[in-house]
């Protein structure tokens, strides 16, 4: 799978980046490609490009605040999750997404 994700939380210094790490580790472990954009206190980093979005199978939104530039994601399948869920159990989240996408195809 090709996964893209955005992480964001109110302070934007801790959970945003912990969630990024958790998603990257979990995706790698399950053999997927992933790119995670962070919208934290330092602004947008590792920004998802139109190509990234076009090539992605799924967008994971792990956000506790409104995100910037959400118009990029009109036409892509999304999963919205709590940032705590990602930090706590990113791997089972990825597994659930795998199942969901497999069943539909």
């Amino acid at each position: 799978m090709n996964i893209i994700a955005i992480t964001a939380c109110p302070t934007g210094v801790a959970h945003t980046f912990m969630a990024k790490r958790a998603l990257e580790d979990a995706a790698k472990k399950r053999g997927h490609e992933i790119k995670v954009e962070t919208q934290g206190a330092t602004g947008i980093e590792n920004e998802l490009t139109p190509t990234d979005v076009k090539n992605a199978d799924i967008l994971i939104l792990a956000v506790e605040v409104g995100i910037a530039k959400s118009e990029r994601f009109k036409d892509i399948k999304k999963v919205e999750v709590k940032i705590g869920t990602v930090i706590k159990s990113a791997e089972s989240l990825i597994r659930k997404i795998e199942e969901k996408l497999e069943n539909k195809e």
Binding site: C9, T11, H15, M18, T38, A41, E64, I87
Partner: protein, 154 residues
């Protein structure tokens, strides 16, 4: 990148309180006394509590990372506190917390190297090797060395 954020290590704090609410008050007094800046303990406490309301910062494995934007703070601070008496934190894994990284950032601080350093630290805190290392430190110097490593690699 070296750690350009004011970093303090407090090992084996003999904390009086083990419930989160009272401990936060105690912790913020301790932090306040260690800081050069004159920010009130209550101001720090309010910032941490405000953030804690959104999602628990106890992210499992006895670790927590309370943080907040603090009114009137001029530059960021990082504290690593190891407590003697584990705290009921309502952590993600429901375990008590013993190892605490406190991050304080100025409320109007945007886009600078300090925040970058803190974000790399948070990123690396999810690494089980780093977690093991920080949980077994013997002294302050060792703790600082590990923290330094945690902010140096992206």
């Amino acid at each position: 990148m070296g750690i350009n954020v004011e970093t303090k290590v407090i090992l084996d704090l003999n904390n009086k309180y083990t419930d989160k609410k009272s401990f936060f008050a105690e912790l913020c007094e301790v932090i306040h006394n260690e800081m050069d800046e004159k920010v009130l303990a209550i101001t720090i406490k309010e910032a941490l509590e405000e953030r804690e309301k959104v999602v628990t910062t106890g992210f499992g494995n006895e670790l927590a990372i309370p943080h907040g934007k603090v009114e009137g703070l001029i530059s960021p601070y990082l504290f690593f506190v190891r407590v003697k008496n584990p705290i009921e934190w309502q952590a993600m894994d429901d375990e008590k917390v013993k190892f605490i990284f406190v991050i304080l950032v100025p409320s109007d601080d945007k886009d600078n190297n300090h925040l970058k350093v803190l974000s790399i630290l948070s990123y690396n805190l999810m690494d089980s090797e780093y977690q093991k290392m920080i949980k077994t430190v013997k002294d302050e110097e060792e703790a600082k060395n590990i923290i330094e490593k945690m902010v140096a690699v992206e």
